[in-house]
Symmetry: C2
Subunit: 357 residues, 2 copies
């Protein structure tokens, strides 16, 4: 099979989804996408492991990145894709091969766009960020992803979702002393000592700051808890793994200070951190995009690669088909109307002249 | 090698310990013990998988069981045995091959005891009770272990430890609803819901009832805690595994009622239960034994197979060399003086006539 970019975006979504591409296994889909892009005259294509960059070079005043990851979370008995006439059901339909299909359609057909375009199709977004294909390109060949504005085609229900919240993961650790549980008073119970940790978490009041007119919503949650040696031993260690999702008016450092105060008196071990991204809707490129595609922008609660673009100094928004609530769900799906709607809006913005500065 | 029962009990302990016999791998040691017992004229020997019963049949008025398990917990870089002149160090020295060695010495040498004797050397005590060799014999051939009194040679620091506490294991389960941790308010956090469970445990006041003059000491402890789906998912289940060690004035049923009241409002899943054993020091056979061997009896906090004898209607005590605090420890050891002391006391009690009814 060779990927046929003359198909409409719905059929292309189906074709892309039916090429399994769980993180770290993107080679087959990357091969297909590369082969399809290489034959397009108006694009120069480079491959970086299993990620692809395809660029126009028309000397336009403005350059826009349109990006999407090509990996998915693991299969959950939800392939091949099923088309019920209104929805496409199956792994990757929502997160985010419908967005990738729209981007591929635009890449193949917009030979004379009003802005120069850089398409990025990248691997390993769904796993530990050290594997992230976009990050690798930004680190090794930043000139390839430089632009005035970036659109990340993550599912955002067909409207602009601006910015993203940051995320901090850490363990709160309590310690004790082992003893046989038949003589428990000889030891000290680390799981009991975690009672105060859970109590603080259960009492947490979420901050909901409004930024650029968008209301964010923080979250501070135990996502894992583990402790215990054997069922007849008083445990000497308990770990509560906490995920703090913080609004983009806080830096990573500020988020960490908040956590240290919140868990004052407890041992904390930081495991993972990623800054958020301010919505930046007052940046001209973003404001212009919102004006053209219409709809009321929403805040993005989840972390996405818009944060990477922000760190590169490139204003970025999420704009793609699919309700993000169904990402990573067994019953993942995408409304067909959103696929065609997103393509139309982007095509209109990139074909017309009104939107260009 | 053939086990030489003419060795003194210290050398015999060393020899037994150096035959590895982690639970489920008792065949080699059982073979050795069987071969050594079969040649003793005054004993009739039967084998039951990897457990052995050796009985005198002298028509005495009273019959005493002397029992010990031949398995150990897993190796922990603590074999072969090291003899420093005062202590034997190594796996099984304390729990409980020193006790087994004393019993084997008595079995081999007491051809004309003042009571009939039943020696039981059994497999799989250190693991799930369905594998317990003593239990299997009691279920399939109860007549073989019938007696007026039983001595379990578990480590008890060379004095009588009477009765044992019961044990109940159960999970306290809290439930919630999954959601992406970036939109945590859409779900309900099961780990946070366990805050109240840990709070109750941390506030628990232990009961310390005095029975037959012995002060028991209960314990109610989380021994395991587990919860979490992924580090970006609000967890929908949390399990706190609790071990309740209850004094022998409470039945299993009473212990369960206490637990249900203590965790009122929470879901409980019972996993394991074993009744305790009353010290029974007022039973004539036990009182006589204590009077002869001397020392102040202590309460047994850990669960031992005395509870099985109690259920069979046989008064039983723990009496063996070794401090039980060192059982299952890497630095397990037994004082040599306790090995010889235990043997002397038992030999005196079983050789004389004063102790017999």
């Amino acid at each position: 099979m060779t990927l046929d970019l003359s198909l409409d975006a719905v059929a292309l979504t189906e074709a892309l989804c039916n090429i399994e591409s769980v993180s770290h296994d993107e080679k087959p889909i990357a091969d297909e996408i590369e082969a399809a892009l290489r034959v397009i005259q108006h694009l120069s294509v480079t491959r970086h492991e299993n990620s692809l960059v395809a660029r126009t070079d028309l000397g336009r005043d403005e350059r826009v990145v349109i990006a999407g990851h090509i990996d998915t979370v693991p299969l959950n008995d939800n392939l091949p894709v099923r088309n019920d006439g209104k929805l496409l059901h199956g792994l990757g339909t929502c997160d985010m091969k419908a967005g990738v299909a729209v981007a591929l359609r635009l890449a193949a057909s917009l030979s004379d766009p009003n802005r120069d375009l850089t398409f990025v199709f990248y691997e390993c977004e769904e796993i530990d960020s050290v594997h992230n294909g976009l990050r690798k390109i930004a680190e090794t060949a930043p000139e390839l992803v430089g632009a005035d504005f970036a659109i990340l085609m993550e599912p955002s229900d067909g409207v602009v979702e601006a910015g993203c919240q940051g995320t901090l993961r850490f363990d709160v650790i309590t310690r004790g002393e082992r003893a046989h549980s038949a003589r428990s008073w000889k030891g000290s119970n680390a799981i009991h000592a975690a009672s105060g940790v859970l109590h603080r978490l259960a009492s947490y009041d979420a901050r909901t700051p409004v930024i650029d007119g968008l209301e964010y919503h923080e979250g501070l949650n135990a996502v894992m808890v583990a402790g215990g040696v054997a069922t007849n031993v008083i445990p000497d260690e308990c770990r509560v793994t906490v995920n703090y999702r913080f609004a983009p008016d806080r830096s990573e450092t500020e988020a960490l200070v908040f956590i240290q105060e919140f868990f004052d008196g407890y041992e904390i071990e930081l495991t993972d951190t990623a800054s958020g991204a301010l919505p930046g809707l007052s940046v001209p490129a973003a404001a212009a995009f919102v004006a053209v595609v219409g709809g009321d922008p929403n805040p993005k609660f989840g972390w996405t690669d818009v944060a990477q673009f922000t760190q590169l100094g490139i204003p970025a928004v999420n704009f793609g088909p699919g309700d993000p609530m169904f990402a990573h769900k067994q019953d993942e799906h995408v409304p067909i109307a959103q696929i065609t709607g997103c393509e139309e809006k982007l095509r209109g913005w990139l074909s017309g002249t009104g939107g260009a500065r």
